[in-house]
Amino acid sequence: MLNKSTIAIAIVTMFSAGSVSAVMLDGDSQGDHVRLYGEVGVGGHFDTHPDYNHDEFYDTKGYVDDSFATMGVEGQREQFTYRLELDYQRRNWLGGDGEFELAIDKLYVGYRLTDQQWIELGLTDTAFDDYDHFGDFTFNKSVETGEAGDQENTVKYQAEFENLIFGTSYSYDGEHKSGALQGDIINGYVGWMSDLLSVVVGLETRGGSNGVSKYGEQEQIGLGVRLKLMPELSIGFNGFLEDEDLSTRKSGDVHLDYQTFRNIGMTVSAKYDLTERWELISSVNHEEYEGWDLIGPNYDYSELPAEYGKERRWASLGFNYRPARDIVLSLEGRVGEAPEAAYAYARMYF
């Protein structure tokens, strides 16, 4: 399912002007078209840190590869749209094995109600997923918002007016990226977009697995803000507050005794455009998971506490370099309670 890096690419593809440069296979002036698009990226995480690894990496070692490729076809005929996207990605998250896997990332048909409103049906991003890192300028992931991501069996409605944006989705029998049942998921966002200031609020709730997996009910609110201070300098804020019910006990295959865990995460980031080709990006980050809180009532006391305690804080500084159109070279260094020391990546889009 959705790898974290795909979030980054989603953001990049959607918001970096000019980067949507797919190969037009067919098209006409009415808007009907078929396009092939994709990405090849090579790079990964350097010097991952066992003390600060929450669930980021399947192994902590000098280099964890995060290479990634995606290829998709999307098109429109009259009001109908469709999209098929394949990802080739590393299962490098905690519990994974670091090997490549091929997965269908998106598979939907859509319908454009108007120029500003459309719906999608099938396997697609849930609505909130589109804006869950809105205020985070970093190329690498920073604080991860635990929203639903891509889901099968999803109905999504989105609208984009001049300044106002709105979206909501419903997913039947939603699943965690591990495949574990989470129950129905409804999420959405509403935002205000302008050159100077943009704000998006996201909301999500899910129905829980009713004992099938460790995931119970959940409610979450997210906030993303971008403010252009100067033509070259933008700052952003991204954060979430989540009450997530998780099972604290298991009998056989049945998960029991769900307890609510409150999780908070926030990022303040800034982006400075040095030149057309160079961007400097920095962030400071704070994450707080109740499950990490040794003194919290729901701490899983079969395990030793994490080194970082009940919260993690770190900061990052990095740059993106675009030697040519559709090529991004990224390098980021991190300090503090970060699970990795650096991230380096080269991507090409088509």
């Binding site: 909501t168 419903y170 029998d173 049942l181 129950g183 129905d184 998921i185 409804i186 999420n187 959405g188 509403v190 609020v201 909301l203 709730t205 899910r206 129905g207 829980g208 697995s209 009713n210 004992g211 099938v212 995931y215 119970g216 009910e217 409610e219 609110i221 507050l241 009450d243 019910d245 099972s247 006990r249 009998s251 056989g252 049945v254 998960h255 029991l256 005794d257 769900y258 307890q259 609510t260 409150r262 040794l294 003194i295 009532p297 729901n298 701490y299 006391y301 079969s302 395990e303 030793l304 506490p305």
Partner: protein, 1087 residues
């Protein structure tokens, strides 16, 4: 031939190592009294040559006229070996604990002091002369000289110095293997001024005896009451002194002669002084009263002493008194409480100190309007008194208390409160130790022949009234008060008359079943729950599975094991509980050979009647139990590897599948204390008197077993949490905080201060209670916390689980952990607990309604409840009754299964107090509760649990209130499986119609046959004249299943509905829109 040559010749033939000079050794002086520290023996070399002792010439003590004990040094070699005695020099052997001052005085007088250093690995090789001992020297196998008749077992030398006299011819006397008292100068009281000096008194030296003569002037003679005075101390003893400056002459009649609590006799006034404030009697401490008889008149010269709280006289020898051989009977005086005693029973007893008294049926007849008679109640049954740091008063006896048995101070009053302290003081005040004379051997009561011959009929229980027992009142110091250097002082009654069963009135007579109501309204049924401590039931040494802890705390032999098991089986059956919590059962898992399986199997043997008509009978198979197994190691098997927690004993649950079914089971791991080891100022680990680490900071509770049942025929959950919290007996880290160890490396583990009487580890039990309360908060439905909480009714852990109305500051232990998780604070500091969990101490509450006080345990001479049933408030309306059953704690431990200290063991491996009955099956009383249920009652979202018995279920129909059934109405039932996909075979199902035959019918039970196991939607209703009676229809969900089996099985839990129902919000998009009202983030499940 001279004698000495003869003896030499004999010696040389018998023992190879004899040599010249041994015939010149002579025992020349001896001192002894009741104080072994001043017992000495002087040996003098009367010959011309120096003599060096070898192993051949050895010193022996003749102990008590019975035992030859060779004196050894610390290397286990003969004590005197290697010592050289110059001509005319003396050595003086002294006890190892003789004071330095004492030894120096002997050395100054010219003697060589030989300290009896003794070998601690052997018994009885110290010189330990205590008035009844002798001494001899042996050369090889021959006794060559002796002091003290070899077979005199009396206290023949009280406070005595004996000096060897010269022979009549002025020469030194000859050695003598036998003792001739005439060859010794007798000095009394003892003197030490000649020890070490080798000169002997002349053959005609007079004995030096301190002989008293009664004054002829009667005015110089005092009566016992004049000596006693009216206060707690004698007016003759100046304030701050322990004895009078001068001797006084006291005359009286001997009212009693006893050896317990101290040896001596009791004098009484010729005639009462008619002053109730003064005692008319006094105790004379003497070990020389062997010749005196009760009824004789004695005039004694003695100083007046205040000894351990008692005013007394003393006499070392019979020379201290003059006897007139009268035979005057002393009638015992009834003890009577006076208003001038101001409520102090000590003051009452002080007025009778030294007197022969009687315990009347009413000690306070001044309150005739008060129907209750104030009498003396047994508060500790006959048992060993286990006094700490006792001054020699450890023995088997009983304790009585004024008006009522002593309740543990914290049972009714919050621990640490002024009321609790007052209760403690009152217990001390009301106590009267019941002694026998002579001392009991532990299995016989010298004053109660009926008990000795038939203890099963003539039993004595706690709370028995002791009436018309006669005896003498004494006072003595019992034991050190922990954390202080003070001793408790108690009054005692040494019984002098023979008692029968008429003297013991059973206020709580034995009953063969608990007094527990379980009558219910029509249509309802009762569920009975009990909690029983099994007194360390271990079966591993007798064919059961081994436990992982290498301990066996139960029976020591197969005979004991069978006896223990027999009694436990009887007491379990007698309680007739539907579900039972067990404590102190061997922690050897849940396999076929586990202790809990053994107990259940043995209990079930009796339940054999299989026919339906016998279902309510005492021996019906419906009564069979099964134990709840916990697959603690998760290997999907119940076996001997499923031991729970870290102790050799565990808790357990057994239940009747005919009455309830398991919904879920779990083990709640309880907090552990992982605190620093207690060290002294130098950082050294302190050991206790047994060389164990005094307090290593590692302490544990037994883990809690939690089982949620569904009561059959209902959808009511009932969760039992069975607990056995850390005991009061051994310490936790907290106990030693604030104790100044200095540089000590050993410390008595019994001396931890206990200012609020909660015993050890109260704070740690609080930590356990908090965790238990927290974990139980998530449990749905009705809940009961039961078991041995090792806390009395108003102690901190119980306050936490119930309520803390006075807002006592309750503090947890420090350094408590749940696995690696600090329970409260990361730095290990304790937490102050302000939250309480609202459970109801139902036995306490029910007893309050009945005007009684619950208790389940007897410790020392106090009783109280450690075994509790705490119910959630949701259960309160269901409670029919609750009680303790005083079947164990009220009884003396003589009746238990153990053979130790029980006297002769008969051919069946059993002692005379043993009987295969219920009494003293354990040391704790069971606690019981009955609850009432109506078929059809259900919690929200819980289907009715309708177990099949031979394919038959009973579907309950509670006719709604407001609907009056009429004769002729027809009740109908329909059932359809909830899940169509199962495609159940319903062809055999019989859904009966029931014709109402009684206008008052409020409940119909449909006997439905042949319904396959499944969840059903059930509809029941009344039809009248073929029409549905409006409002009569009821719909509910029922779960039809087989009963829980009688073979313990792993219960896989079903979903608990805390994980959501899969749908996000109740109305999809509307719900999402409502989320935009940002204020309402959902409240968390747990505060």
């Amino acid at each position: 031939m001279k004698k000495s040559f003869l003896s030499l010749a004999i010696a040389s033939t018998i023992s190879m190592g004899a040599f010249a000079g041994v015939e010149d050794l002579l025992i020349t002086e001896m001192t002894q009294s009741s104080d072994a520290n001043v017992g000495t023996v002087e040996i003098t070399n009367t010959g011309p040559d120096a003599f060096t002792f070898t192993d051949e010439v050895a010193a022996y003590q003749r102990s008590g006229g019975k035992y030859d004990n060779q004196l050894l040094n610390a290397e286990a070699k003969p004590l005197l070996s290697g010592y050289t005695l110059a001509p005319s020099a003396s050595i003086v052997v002294v006890n190892s604990r003789a004071s330095e001052e004492f030894r120096d005085a002997i050395a100054t007088q010219g003697g060589t002091v030989v300290i009896s250093t003794y070998d601690s690995s052997n018994k009885y090789n110290n010189l330990f002369m205590t008035s009844d001992d002798g001494f001899f020297l042996k050369n090889g196998d021959t006794v060559i000289d002796r002091v003290g008749a070899a077979n005199d077992t009396s206290k023949w030398a009280p406070n005595t110095t004996l000096r060897r006299k010269k022979a009549a011819d002025g020469n030194n006397p000859a050695q003598s293997g036998t003792f001739d008292a005439t060859k010794w100068q007798n000095i009394l009281p003892m003197r030490f001024d000649d020890l070490g000096k080798s000169e002997l008194p002349a053959a005609d030296a007079e004995d030096i005896m301190d002989i008293f003569t009664c004054p002829t002037d009667k005015n110089e003679i005092m009566s016992p009451s004049e000596v006693q005075g009216s206060g707690f101390t004698s007016p003759l003893v100046a304030a701050g002194e322990t004895e009078s400056a001068e001797k006084v002459a006291v005359e009286g009649i001997i009212s009693a002669k006893v050896s317990i609590p101290n040896e001596g006799f009791y004098l009484r006034n010729f005639a009462s002084d008619n002053d109730p404030e003064t005692s008319d009697g006094i105790f004379v401490s003497s070990s020389a009263a062997g010749g005196l008889k009760v009824g004789q008149t004695v005039c004694i010269g003695s100083k007046v002493a205040e000894f351990e709280g008692q005013t007394q006289l003393s006499a070392d020898t019979a020379f201290s008194w003059n006897v007139t051989d009268t035979n005057i009977v002393t009638e015992p005086t009834d003890i009577q409480v006076l208003s001038s005693d101001n409520g102090s029973f000590d003051k009452t007893l002080e007025r009778y100190e030294g007197m022969l008294v009687n315990l009347p049926e009413d000690l306070d007849p001044s309150t005739p309007s008060d129907e209750a008679k104030e009498d003396m109640r047994i508060t500790r049954s006959f048992s060993y008194n286990y006094l700490l740091s006792s001054k020699g008063h450890n023995r088997n006896n009983m304790v009585a208390a004024y008006k009522r048995p002593n309740l543990q101070p914290n049972h009714l009053y919050v621990a640490g409160s002024p009321e609790s302290k007052a209760a403690y003081e009152q217990n001390n005040d009301y106590r009267l130790v019941i002694e026998s004379s002579p001392r009991s051997n532990g299995t016989e009561l010298p004053y109660y022949a009926g008990f000795n011959s038939d203890p099963h009929t003539n039993y004595i229980r706690i709370d028995d009234s002791l009436v018309n027992a006669q005896g003498v009142i004494s006072q003595y110091e019992t034991e050190l008060i922990p954390g202080t250097d003070k001793f408790d002082q108690d009054y005692s009654l040494t019984i002098t008359n023979q008692l029968t069963s008429d003297n013991f009135i059973h206020n709580l007579p034995r009953t063969d079943k608990p007094d527990l109501k379980d009558t219910v309204a029509d249509d309802d049924f009762a569920i009975r729950i009990s909690s029983q401590n099994l007194f360390n039931f271990f079966n591993s040494p007798f064919g059961g599975d081994n436990n992982n802890f290498g301990q066996s705390r139960g029976a020591d032999s197969y005979d004991e094991y069978i006896n223990q098991r027999t009694k436990l089986v009887e007491i379990i059956r007698a309680q007739d509980a539907d579900v039972m919590a067990l404590m102190e059962i061997e922690n050897n898992g849940f396999g076929d050979d586990s202790a809990i399986a053994e107990i259940v199997n043995q209990v079930n043997i009796q339940y054999v009647d299989e026919r339906a008509q016998d279902y309510n009978g005492p021996n019906s198979t419906e009564n069979r139990y099964v134990f709840v197994g916990f697959d603690n190691n998760g290997n999907q098997m119940l076996d001997n590897l499923d031991a729970i927690g870290s102790d050799a004993i565990a808790t357990g649950i057994i239940y009747r599948p005919s009455k309830m079914s398991i919904e879920r089971t779990r083990v709640i791991p309880m907090p552990q204390q992982k605190a620093p080891t207690t060290v002294n100022d130098l950082g050294e680990v302190i050991k206790d008197q047994n060389q164990e680490i005094l307090e290593n900071g590692q302490n544990y509770h037994r883990d809690a077993l939690v089982v949620t049942f569904i009561v059959n025929q209902t959808g009511k959950r009932l969760t039992l949490a069975v607990n056995h919290l850390k005991s009061k007996g051994s310490t936790c880290w907290e106990e030693w905080q604030g104790v100044e160890f200095g540089e000590a490396t050993t410390w008595n583990n019994r001396t931890a201060p206990d200012l609020d009487y909660q015993g050890s580890c109260a704070e740690f039990r609080v930590a356990g209670a908090v965790h238990l309360g927290e974990e139980m908060e998530d449990v749905l439905g009705d809940k009961i916390i039961l078991g041995d909480l090792n806390a009395y009714g108003k102690e901190d852990p119980v306050l936490v689980l119930t309520e803390n109305p006075r807002n006592k500051t309750i503090v947890t232990a420090s350094h408590t952990f749940l696995g690696p998780k600090p329970q409260f604070n990361e730095d290990g500091s304790p937490a102050i607990i302000t939250k309480t969990y609202g459970y109801i101490d139902i036995v306490g509450e029910k007893f309050k309604e009945k005007g009684k006080t619950p208790w389940s345990y007897s410790f020392s001479d106090e009783i109280g409840s450690l075994d509790h049933i705490l119910i959630s408030p949701s259960l309160k309306d269901r409670v029919i009754d609750a009680t303790d059953w005083h079947v164990n704690a009220a009884e003396t431990g003589l009746y238990d299964y153990q053979n130790r200290f029980k006297g002769n063991i008969d051919g069946t491996g059993t002692h005379k107090f043993y009987k295969g009955d219920i009494y003293r099956a354990s040391d704790h009383d069971p606690a019981l509760i009955t609850l009432s249920y109506k078929p059809g009652d259900a919690d929200a979202n819980v289907p009715l649990n309708l177990p099949k018995l031979r394919k038959l279920i009973k579907v309950p129909y509670q006719i709604p209130t407001g609907i009056s059934a009429q004769v002729g109405d027809v009740a109908t039932v329909s059932m359809s499986p909830e899940d169509d996909e199962q495609r159940l075979d319903l062809t055999q199902m019989v859904l009966p119609n029931v014709v109402i035959s009684n206008d008052t019918t409020a409940m119909v039970n449909f006997e439905v046959f042949g319904a396959p196991s499944a969840i059903y939607n059930v509809t029941v209703s009344l039809q009248r004249d073929g029409q549905l009676v409006e409002g009569s229809q009821q719909k509910f969900v029922a779960k039809v299943s087989n009963r829980d089996t009688l073979i313990a099985d792993i219960v896989e839990e079903e979903i608990d509905h805390t994980g959501g129902d899969g749908s996000a919000g109740s109305a999809g998009f509307i719900s999402l829109l409502s989320l935009f009202g940002l204020a309402a983030m959902r409240r968390r499940l747990r505060k």
